[in-house]
Amino acid sequence: MNHDPFKWGRPNDATYGAYNHHIAQATPYAYEEQHASSTSTTTSSFPKMNTQNPIITGTSVISLKFKDGVILAADNLGSYGSLARFTNIERLIRVGKETIVGISGDISDLQQIERILEELETTQEVYDNFDGGDDLKAPHVHEYLSRVMYNRRSNMNPLWNAIVVGGFDKDGKTPFLKYVDLLGVTYGSSTIATGFGAHLAVPLLRQLIPEDKDYVNITEEQARECILNAMTVLFYRDARSLDKFSLVTVKNDGEFKFEKELRCEGQRWKFAKDIRGYGSAQQ
């Protein structure tokens, strides 16, 4: 350890060598800079930074399984920091006949995923299955996306999103709901929410479905009501949310219902009139 008062607590240069400042200051230009400045042709130890940060973002996606299917919701906001930059972003994407993909996080990456999924759909359903065969189902879409996400993160260049895939298992009957994010982490559950929703909405959703298996007792109406309520609560408490959202219901009888421009209804604000000051009595 270095005992110099100005470098106290740092690794000692004599022991560990000087700190390589370039590591912390890695930029996308590291490669070019190195080639401009160095005279040797040996490969540099300069790291190349490739991870970006999300710029225009979408907030939570929330979702539930119920007896005969799944239900997903996501609002239509594209935020630029705290600026409500776009208010017409569609973050629920239909893939194939019965699969729905909900995406939160960076919007430019969302659009890239949209294109990736379109290509997947073309190659699988149009090219390979033109003369019939198995359609693309939710487990396939989820597995594919998880490979894309994990591959990108392994190249230090993640797609900055958290994704929920809803639909049906390969039997076409059992509801399917699974998550994948920018690290390639995946899990399945009867209640899934991304972003702020993971904190605020999941407890509400789990009031309806306390344990994974319990979704078999839930009707579409119950699930829908629970999701609508969660969207309203998110609008109350998520500063990057909008009261305009899309909602998709997929059922195993073949129904695919895509509702757009819904509003958070039944908001409660009236109690504000009884609130004065912040503690001690006020006029």
Binding site: R115, E119, T122, V126, Y127, F130, D131
Partner: protein
């Protein structure tokens, strides 16, 4: 000309003294023996149909589809060497995907045909390759409406209102010429196509065949290239067979121009 004869038909990259590329012409021979393929450009879309010759009773009926899709809105039917056709379609798919990855829009049919024309033509220029043994009929609907093209082993790629290739092409062509494509709808064209394929099959009567029909139309299929629904297909087949019995006696004079074909 004295020099006609030996050698000039062995390589692609060598002209014969009277200006012919024999390899390309031989490729056309491969096509002429294949099952008939036709394409119709109607006012609201396109219809493709093939006469799928059944070479073995052991083949699963209704499977082994012959018509393929290049992009959602573009279909292909071809006659000739089937593996060549599959390679051609794969190239078309690559072109369509590469166009989409840059411009984020579906490729237009004429633009795709430009690219494929160049690709096919390339196979007539090098002695290390042979030309495509297919004639492909490519049809689709894009922003400018329906399009139908036929592309040959030479790379020739022209637009048509009705196109036919394969063994029964002469019969098919003379039937196509009778149609009014300005008024014809794809729904009607399915029946017409079934009938034409049935008539064209007369040239190949010793073998059984299956009819395969696809269509692409904004109104009927939402701009997607798909097989026609089974009920429409069966209805068309039924009509074709009925008509077939009616005009059995007047058909004789159709086959006579067969051998004039290859001159141009």
């Amino acid at each position: 000309m004295t020099s006609i004869g030996t050698g000039y038909d062995l390589s692609n990259s060598v002209f014969s003294p009277d200006g012919r590329n024999f390899q390309v012409e031989y490729a056309m021979k491969a096509v002429e023996n294949g099952g008939t393929s036709i394409g119709l450009k109607c006012k609201d879309g396109i219809v493709l149909a093939v006469e799928k010759i059944i070479n073995s009773k052991l083949l699963v009926a209704g499977s082994n589809k012959r018509i393929q899709t290049i992009d959602r809105h573009i279909g292909v039917a071809y006659s000739g060497l089937l593996p060549d056709g599959r390679h051609f379609v794969n190239r078309g798919r690559d072109e369509a995907q590469s166009f989409k990855s840059l411009y984020k829009s579906a490729v237009s049919v004429p633009h795709l045909m430009d690219r494929l024309g160049i690709y096919v033509q390339n196979y007539t220029c090098y002695n290390s390759v042979r030309p495509f043994g297919i004639v492909a009929i490519v049809g689709g609907v894009d922003e400018n409406g329906p399009h139908l093209y036929m592309i040959e082993p030479s790379g020739t790629c022209w637009g048509y209102t009705g196109a036919a290739t394969g063994k029964g092409r002469q019969t098919a062509k003379s039937e196509l010429e009778k149609l009014n494509f300005e008024e014809l709808t794809v729904r009607e064209a399915i029946k017409v196509a079934a009938k034409i394929i049935d008539q064209a099959h007369e040239d190949n009567k010793d073998k059984d065949y299956e009819l395969e029909v696809t269509w692409c139309s904004l109104e009927e299929t939402g701009g997607k290239h798909v097989h026609v629904p089974e009920d429409l297909l069966q209805e068309a087949i039924k009509l074709a067979k009925e008509d077939d019995d009616d005009d059995d006696d007047e058909e004789e004079d159709d086959d006579e121009e067969e051998d004039q074909e290859m001159e141009t």
